[in-house]
């Protein structure tokens, strides 16, 4: 930090006398920012070029790199903003030949053209710092948004815990992945039927997904969703992941700036999928943990709340095009009863809203006493042309690296429009074949995979919840998904999102990656999402780190109390 403050005043000092001439501070600010950027880069080069040998040092370097990426993105954005202002202040033109000289520019005169003075002469010496000009504003926005949300995940990717090779690495209980059945999946995917290379798989596909796969998906969903009638492969579009399906749906159902309602807390990934490409807003329908007369269950979704949120959004001039439901819910783990589901759908119909239902955890219901009802199992949908179902293999089969997501909708218009995105979200033919084989083998799924998976999920859940109970930490979810939604409010003093963030960082410092409530748009600070679908040894170690942090947190709290008391 001191390094920056040393260098910063230099350019500003140089420029101070020129203020009157420039009429504005923007060019000056721009230059200061460019210098800042330069200084920051040099600083980081210095910091990271010290090649430490020890693991700790390398990790430290890694952390610095992450920070650098974030900072440079932010600075990029500032420079971009300043540049446009500075340019307009100085009445600078796009570096093109001016109107009157246009006719005279000939091939041979290029040299002269290129010799033109730089349109922003005072910046020409920082040519290297002009990266800001390389990205569009939305490009910077995408980059910053992504970096800021995924830097910790990236840190984990580069420094993963390994029981022999990297015992000090990160354990990730923050990303919703099922790692419990890797043995079964690895074995299954190595079987002979998986390896087929046909000409057709190597050629351009049907962009909606290969017909054989769409047929299989329709059959699979008919069976597992208990559809009253056979589902139609023509209503299926297959893309490389559910986030791609969501992104494409947001594109074709909304225009930029329009919105979907989503009960919050909700899976944060949707925020990306709606924002990065589609520029669609997600309006949270805030749910509360407290049980009251109207709120008979924690985080209960009611039509009243939906209605209220919709009217409020409309009052603010927002155009709401749909409602997004996740069932089984992520992160609370609730399963909507057919009755409540029907009420939500009727609400949507009443207001001509589309409903996107994400049923990506439908086969991960591990409590046998609870039955999940897919929206596709309903005899009649209130508004079937506005009901769109998403499912994928990432969670239920624990193969998030496979990149497969499917859309099922009766609406032919939506099928067509989403299909156009097949160009950009297609799956390799070879992978499509494997997926088809996987989904086809109902016997293996029913007799081997699902029972084992549910058993293991149940055991892991039992382990985690026993720990949480011992720590007297309240939590939700006892039936489905890969996660528990836990309340760490009592460890926050004061109970704010800033404290939540600090606690999150403390977990991170202890090499434990969790997800915090804020990332799920939860309205109350202090909630965390803990993914338990991991192998027991890792889970045990993770819980040890978890307890350590909470212990430290408690001690720090006591120390603070004592200090306060002594001061009085």
């Amino acid at each position: 930090m001191s390094h920056w403050s040393d260098t910063l005043p230099v350019p500003s000092g140089q420029r101070r006398d020129q203020v009157p001439r420039d009429h504005s501070i923007y060019p000056q600010l721009l230059e200061i920012t460019l210098h800042l950027r330069q200084a920051m880069r040099e600083h980081f080069v210095q910091l990271t070029s010290r090649q430490g040998l020890s693991l700790e040092e390398r990790k430290h370097t890694q952390a610095i790199r992450e920070k650098e990426a974030l900072l440079s993105c932010l600075i990029c954005r500032m420079i971009n903003l300043l540049q446009s202002e500075a340019a307009s202040d100085l009445e600078l033109q796009v570096p093109l030949p001016s109107e009157d000289s246009r006719g005279d520019v000939r091939y041979g005169e290029r040299a002269q053209l290129s010799g033109q003075p730089d349109p922003v002469p005072q910046l020409s010496d920082c040519e290297a710092a002009f990266v800001s000009r390389d990205l569009s504003n939305r490009g910077i926005d995408i980059s910053v948004f992504y970096q800021s949300s995924f830097q910790d995940y990236n840190a984990y990717q580069k420094d993963k815990y390994h029981k022999d090779k990297n015992t000090l690495g990160f354990i990730n209980l923050g990303t919703s992945e099922n790692k419990l059945c890797m043995d079964l999946m690895t074995e299954r995917l190595q079987e002979r039927d998986m390896n087929c290379i046909e000409d057709a798989l190597l050629q351009y596909p049907d962009w909606r997904g290969q017909p054989f796969l769409r047929e299989e998906v329709a059959r699979f969903l008919t069976y597992y969703c208990r559809a009253p009638t056979q589902l139609d492969p023509e209503n299926v579009v297959v893309l490389n992941g559910c986030c791609s399906v969501f992104s494409a749906l947001a594109m074709v159902l909304c225009d930029p700036g329009e919105a979907f309602l989503v009960p919050a807390p909700f899976y944060g990934g949707f925020a990306f999928s709606s924002r990065l490409y589609a520029k669609v807003e997600l309006i949270p329908v805030y749910l509360e943990s407290e049980v009251t007369v109207t709120n008979t269950q924690p985080f209960q979704l009611t039509v009243d709340k939906l209605e209220e949120a919709l009217l409020e959004a409309r009052f603010e001039g927002k155009k709401v095009r749909g409602l997004v439901l996740i069932n089984p819910q992520n992160p609370v783990g609730d399963i909507y009863s057919p009755d409540s589901l029907m009420k939500y759908l009727e609400f949507a119909k009443r207001y001509n809203l589309h409903v996107i239902i994400d049923e990506i955890y439908m086969l991960s219901v591990f409590d046998e006493s609870i039955t999940f009802h897919s929206v596709l199992s309903m005899k009649s949908l209130p508004d079937r042309n506005r009901t769109h179902v998403i499912w994928g293999t990432s969670k239920d089969f624990g193969i998030s690296g496979f990149r497969f997501g499917a859309l099922y909708t009766h609406n032919k218009e939506v099928v067509s429009a989403v299909s156009a995105f097949g160009y950009l979200h297609s799956i390799s033919g070879i992978a499509q074949h494997k997926l088809c084989q996987l989904l086809q083998n109902t016997e293996w799924i029913d007799k081997v995979y699902l029972p084992t998976n549910c058993y293991r999920l149940r055991e892991a859940h039992k382990y985690i919840t026993a720990k949480l109970k011992a720590l007297e930490i309240p939590f939700h979810n006892s039936s489905s998904g890969l996660y528990v939604w836990i309340n760490l409010k009592k460890y926050l003093d004061p109970c704010t999102f800033e404290e939540e963030r600090l606690l999150y960082c403390r977990f991170l410092d202890n090499k434990l990656l969790l997800s915090r409530g804020k990332a799920y748009m939860c309205k109350e600070p202090g909630w965390f999402c803990l993914i338990f679908a991991d192998e027991l040894p890792r889970l045990k170690l993770a819980m040890r780190r978890f307890c350590d942090v909470l212990e430290e947190q408690k001690e720090a709290w006591i120390v603070k109390q004592l200090e306060d008391a002594m001061r009085e």
């Binding site: 796009v94 980059s143 890797m182 159902l253 160009y423 979200h425 070879i430």
Partner: protein
């Protein structure tokens, strides 16, 4: 020169490129909806059966206005290909089906590839391949790509894995680059004729348009060959776009060129790059056919082989296995750029353009196998491409039909202008339809934004028996041409376009 879509709505490729999807915020919604339906009215007489009533009356549609445009585009663009799919030629099952000489795919080496991909080293499955990974692509693959490109592009210094981003195909890469380099409504320059699907790739999400640099078949002035790209033409197109109020952010070069099969010399490349640097334009160099140069004498050089790039921070190179390894269904594409901001921004979108871990592993194995590539695959592939090329070009010569081809790519750019009495795009479309009626699918010049009606792209990278039959059907149509030409324009004429590479 620079066609604004509002003025020229004659082909699907121009319809979307342009401002249609741009800025559809609520404040402009009404205007644009009006505009869309107006356009549609214009278009309708030519489009029976394509699009549907919902498009006509936006109020009854379930889709957003951009969704309606996207759907319309999809419905019309896929038409030719759908016709083909419903009636695909099969030697035994459907000998009177359609022969596809329209889609740029290499169907000559499936035997070699199937063999290679079935080897035991390809079948590895491990947990890390099944889980979320680095969205830029697994490191092992990016390392392999960097080595591969260093070797085959003959880069002066080894290329670095940090500069590599892996995605599910070139289309995705165009989409991501357009989004992170341009604001909505901004443009890339592109010399025409060009592979038309790029229009859609940059538009679907990015809402970026293409500003055409129109090239002529006639050799005049400083040009030394037909459809030659010169800096003068680039300057002119840039000024034109500027005067139309369109902000140009970059230049797209396809090298070896599609559909011309042309190759830019290192000197030419350098000139274009210097032009781009002068105007602070990004350059996207699509080198997806770089290993499909089957004439040694063509002297192809990758942009990565240049000693010094004029503006390395704004030069972005694309490559994929779709063409050079004849696996368009595999969906593997890669970006190489020294600009970390661009690489990071593209990687931020890779969540939506990810490639299965198992396929990433297979790709790494394939690219690593230098022996097989150099000793088996490339020599055999080039020999087969050359033989097929020789066959088709001799057929064309025998028919007295002029064409362009310089020994790269899978296609020949064929001049059928003499078969169009009035030389209009309408006639070009009719001729295309006549080919399709005679069960041979070709691509017509308009789909490549060629400014002269009458050019067609013939894809020759197919098995001999299909190629023979295809050419026979082409001959039949051209022989019967004089008598059909007098027919009144068919009311069923449609305007599909070739959306594949």
């Amino acid at each position: 020169m620079f066609t604004l879509p509002q003025k020229d709505f004659s082909a699907p490729t121009t319809c979307l490129g342009p401002t249609c999807l741009q800025d559809l915020g609520s404040s402009h919604g009404d205007d644009l909806e009006g505009e869309c339906s107006r356009k549609l009215d214009q278009k309708l007489p030519e489009l029976p059966g394509v699009g549907d009533s919902a498009m006509l009356s936006p109020n009854t549609s379930y889709l957003s206005s951009r969704g309606r445009m996207i759907k319309w585009f999809w419905d019309s663009a896929e038409e030719g290909y759908r016709t083909y799919h419903m009636d695909e030629y099969d030697e035994n099952k459907n000998p009177s089906g359609i022969i596809n000489l329209g889609v740029s795919e290499n169907k000559l080496c499936f035997d070699l590839l199937s063999w290679r991909l079935s080897q035991s080293d390809m079948q590895r499955v491990e947990p890390s391949l099944l889980q979320y990974a680095d969205w830029r692509g697994h490191l092992f693959l990016r390392e392999e790509v960097a080595k591969f490109l260093s070797f085959y592009c003959k880069s002066p210094a080894p290329l670095r894995p940090e500069n590599v981003v892996v995605l599910n195909g070139g289309a995705s890469l165009f989409s991501a680059l357009a989004t992170v380099l341009c604001e909505a409504g901004e443009a890339f320059l592109i010399p025409t004729p060009y592979y038309g699907a790029i229009t859609q790739h940059v538009c679907l999400y990015g809402n970026v348009r293409l500003a055409c640099v129109y090239l002529d078949s006639e050799v005049t002035g400083l040009d030394t060959r037909p459809f030659q790209l010169t800096v003068e033409k680039l300057e002119m197109a840039l000024r034109e776009a500027h005067s139309e109020g369109v902000k140009v952010k970059g230049l797209i070069l396809i090298n070896p060129q599609n559909p011309l099969g042309d190759i830019y010399s290192p000197e030419e490349l350098q000139e274009y790059l210097v032009f781009a640097k002068r105007h602070k334009l990004h350059v996207i160099v699509d080198e997806v056919y770089m290993l499909s140069v089957f004439e040694e004498s063509a002297g192809y050089r990758s942009v990565l082989s240049l000693e010094r790039l004029p503006d390395p921070q704004r030069t972005h190179v694309m490559w994929a296995t779709s063409k050079d390894f004849g696996m368009s269904g595999l969906r593997f594409g890669t970006l190489y750029t020294e600009n970390q901001d661009v690489a990071t921004a593209v990687a931020s979108l890779c969540r939506y353009h990810g490639l299965s871990g198992l396929v990433q592993y297979q790709m790494a194995q394939l690219l690593r196998d230098r022996d097989w590539i150099n000793q088996v695959y490339l020599p055999e592939n080039h020999a087969r491409l050359k033989a097929a090329h020789t066959y088709v070009s001799e057929e064309l010569r025998a028919l007295g039909i002029p064409f362009l081809s310089r020994g790269a790519g899978f296609f020949i750019w064929v001049d059928l202008r003499k078969y169009l009495p009035k030389g209009t795009f309408e006639e070009e479309m009719l001729l295309w339809r006549r080919f399709l009626d005679n069960k041979v699918l070709l691509s017509f010049g308009k789909a490549f934004e060629c400014k002269e009606p009458g050019w067609f792209r013939f894809v020759f990278s197919d098995q001999a028996h299909r190629l023979c039959l295809g050419m026979q059907r082409v001959r039949q149509v051209l022989a019967g041409k004089s008598q059909v030409a007098e027919d009144p324009p068919s009311s069923q004429s449609q305007e599909p376009s070739d959306q594949r590479r």
